[in-house]
């Protein structure tokens, strides 16, 4: 890798897409995704990226055009946020159902109403069951690297599924970070040109997206699910290969902090970095705690997760999305369901924090820890930072 260069993370993501030599970009602007797609259109306009840039009239059409171009055998990229992702909803299932390895950045943002351009995970949590591989980046370097790796994972013939790389809106997308870029020839060695399994080629006509009569629908869905389950091994393999080549170790689930902590925070996305600072400061004052980061959200890496918390007494799950009317946030629901079958269960606290871009600081995490210790948190979940005057 080269020396680090300070760059806005959105531009680093665009650079990754360029280095992946995509054939088609179909996108519609929405804050905070815009800088990524603007930069890509500049690359195409300058001839730095030999691709078709399709400036569609909506996100629904962005995903539809992406489906068309991927089905035609073209390496295809798009990016969106919040309302845009929600507008794509219908077609997201079709992209995975047709087994098309589209790569999408989701610059995570809160869903309306009230309209908010700021970060939370409400957008992607509403798309939990779309059958896509879903990864969360913690920082700019990771967002850049995972974007390149995403193409390799999605296009692997054992997978052939779309993938979204989640990047916290503004908190990451608009941050200027030192980024180590990988040489183009190294990227080329890592990521060979896209070899689709089936395409819309008149030389070998295929029918894609036929009617799934009751006799075949379940089997078809089962196959897609199986592909998603199987993709976990491929994600591990590709990330291990990445680690070998570029010296960055990305695990599906990562545990940091004390060797055998009593308490761990569970986080996804950029909050991990703030949590780690809190964990370190608390450790210095003699507390035994750690942090578990979920990098791969779908398929959920059960074994890896259980392994990461096996000796822990208490977990504090931080959700950045609300699941109204449920007993906890979406990540905590996942974990509670998983732990139900386990002989030994840690105590689970669930905090919903940082909705609509509300800042969550090191001090907040310390306070959460203290409240968890003193059993002051709601047994179901606590929405953090709701002002009492509101």
């Amino acid at each position: 890798m080269n020396k680090a260069k300070g760059l806005e993370v959105s531009l680093a993501i665009a650079e990754a897409v360029k280095q992946a030599d995509v054939d088609v970009v179909a996108a519609y602007p929405i804050t905070p995704q815009t800088h990524i797609v603007e930069e890509l259109s500049v690359y195409v306009a300058n001839g730095e990226l030999d691709a078709e840039y399709v400036p569609v009239e909506s996100e629904h059409s962005a995903m539809s055009a992406a489906v068309g171009s991927s089905a035609a055998g073209a390496r295809t990229y798009t990016a969106t946020s919040a309302q845009g992702l929600a507008l794509m909803h219908e077609i997201l299932f079709i992209a995975s159902g047709l087994r098309l390895p589209i790569v999408m950045t989701v610059a995570n943002r809160a869903l309306s109403a009230p309209i908010s351009i700021w970060n939370d995970h409400g957008d992607i949590m509403s798309e939990r069951d779309i059958g896509w591989i879903q990864i969360f980046a913690e920082n700019g370097q990771e967002a850049y690297e995972l974007t390149i790796a995403a193409f390799k994972i999605a296009e692997d013939h054992r997978v052939l599924l779309p993938i979204c790389v989640n990047v916290d809106g503004f908190i990451l997308t608009h941050m200027i970070e030192p980024i180590n870029f990988i040489d183009q020839n190294e990227v080329d060695k890592f990521l060979p040109p896209f070899k689709p399994a089936l395409t819309l080629d008149p030389e070998k006509p295929v029918t894609m997206g036929p009617v799934g009569v009751p006799e075949v629908y379940i089997e078809s869905r089962k196959q897609c699910e199986q592909a998603l389950i199987n993709s976990k091994a491929v994600v591990s393999e590709v990330l291990a290969d990445w680690g070998q080549r570029f010296n960055q170790k990305y695990r599906l689930i990562e545990r940091n902090g004390a060797a055998s902590p009593k308490t761990v925070f569970i986080t996804m996305g950029s909050m991990g970095e703030t949590t780690m600072t809190a964990v370190k400061e608390l450790e210095e004052s003699g507390q035994s705690l750690g942090q578990v980061r979920i990098r791969l959200w779908r398929p959920f890496p059960k074994e890896e997760f259980l392994d990461a918390i096996k000796d822990v007494e208490e977990i504090i799950v931080i959700d950045r999305a609300l699941s109204p009317g449920s007993h906890s946030g979406p990540v905590a629901q996942e974990i509670k369901a998983l732990l139900y079958d386990q002989p030994q269960k840690p105590k689970i606290h669930n905090i919903i924090a940082g909705l609509g871009g509300r800042d969550v600081t090191v001090k907040d995490f310390k306070k959460m820890y203290e409240m968890a210790r003193n059993n002051e948190l709601d047994p179901n979940y606590t929405i953090w930072g709701v002002r009492s005057d509101a």
Partner: protein, 316 residues
């Protein structure tokens, strides 16, 4: 020639050179007398094997693709109801990029998007407009059977005034459909695309020549095809072609084309038949009174006069 440099060496389809090959096979599940599948078959005859079809959800999608069977001999994709123009955009863009990068070896195929009137005039109008405006080199074919047939004959904005459908039923307070048919070809033409036409399988040579022109000319093309539907119109299956012809002979569905903005009526009807003759072939109009029919006659005449004046002004 023919208002477009791309048509200079245009060789017309005649009874002598109609392609014999079909690209939608027999055994599809369309109803008896379905003129929609008939029209689509004609489109495909002209398009030929080097074609990719993107099909919106609707009758044609359903009747041709019950897995594990398919009626399609060319590559075909169905994605959803409202986005087939966007899917076609993606296919066209993908092939273009791959061709430039020398990863697609053969001649670029025709890209044809197919949708019903619901898929086109209502839910898919935005994606159609986007794709036409962006200038993709593709043909959009609207198969207009004047209602949502696949879901059971609900009205669309392309349903004609007075027709009874399951969501615009005739009743003591209603004549049935209360609005006039949306003028989709005019909307397509307003995008200033090089080729727009109306067609009708009752005039198969005219239809096929239009498809051929649309595919010959570079850029987006739109063909709006009148498609009789015995099931939805409650007409006799064996009468579909007769009804199709009557639609033109009564000026209910005039045939014209707009090449680079110049409108030509391609089937001139010197002595139009009264609309009554057309309306009485379909039970969806069975409840209409003489007054209603007179009203439809007046509007039909007025619309035809408008079209004729458009023709003469655009030929000047």
């Amino acid at each position: 020639m023919l208002n477009h440099p791309g048509l200079e060496n245009f060789e017309k389809i005649t009874t002598k050179n109609i392609p014999t090959e079909n690209y939608i096979s027999q055994g599809h599940r369309a109803c008896q007398g379905c003129a929609e599948i008939l029209a689509l078959g004609m489109v495909m005859k002209i398009a030929g094997p080097n074609t990719i079809v993107a099909n919106a959800t609707g009758c044609m999608e359903i009747v041709t693709s019950p897995f594990p069977q398919t009626a399609w001999k060319v590559p075909w994709i169905h994605v959803a109801f409202e986005n087939t123009a966007a899917v076609a955009s993606g296919i066209e863009a993908g092939i273009k990029a791959l061709k430039r990068k020398e990863r697609f070896k053969n001649d670029p195929p025709h890209v044809i998007a197919v949708g019903g009137d619901g898929a086109t005039a209502d839910i898919g109008l935005q994606s159609l407009s986007g794709a036409l405006e962006r200038g993709h080199n593709f043909l959009y074919v609207c198969l207009d059977n004047e209602a949502y047939m696949n879901t059971g004959i609900q009205r669309s904005s392309s349903t004609p005034y007075g027709a009874s459908t399951t969501t615009s039923p005739t009743g003591s307070q209603s004549i049935g459909q209360q609005t006039w048919k949306k003028d989709l070809p005019a909307i397509a033409a307003a995008h200033n695309i090089p080729y727009v036409a109306t067609a009708n399988p009752g005039f198969h040579l005219d239809l096929m020549n239009k498809v051929k022109k649309a595919l010959t000319i570079e850029g987006p093309a739109y063909i709006h095809i009148y498609s009789a539907c015995p099931t939805g119109w409650r007409s006799k299956p064996e009468k579909s072609i007769e009804i199709s012809k009557l639609a033109v002979q009564t000026n209910v569905f005039p045939l014209y084309e707009i090449i680079n903005g110049r409108l030509t009526i391609t089937k001139k009807i010197n002595k139009p038949k009264p609309v009554r003759e057309y309306l009485k072939t379909q039970r969806r109009f069975g409840h209409l009174s003489d007054n209603d029919i007179n009203f439809i006659q007046q509007r039909t005449d007025a619309r035809m006069a408008e079209l004729q004046s458009l023709e003469s002004s655009s030929q000047e």
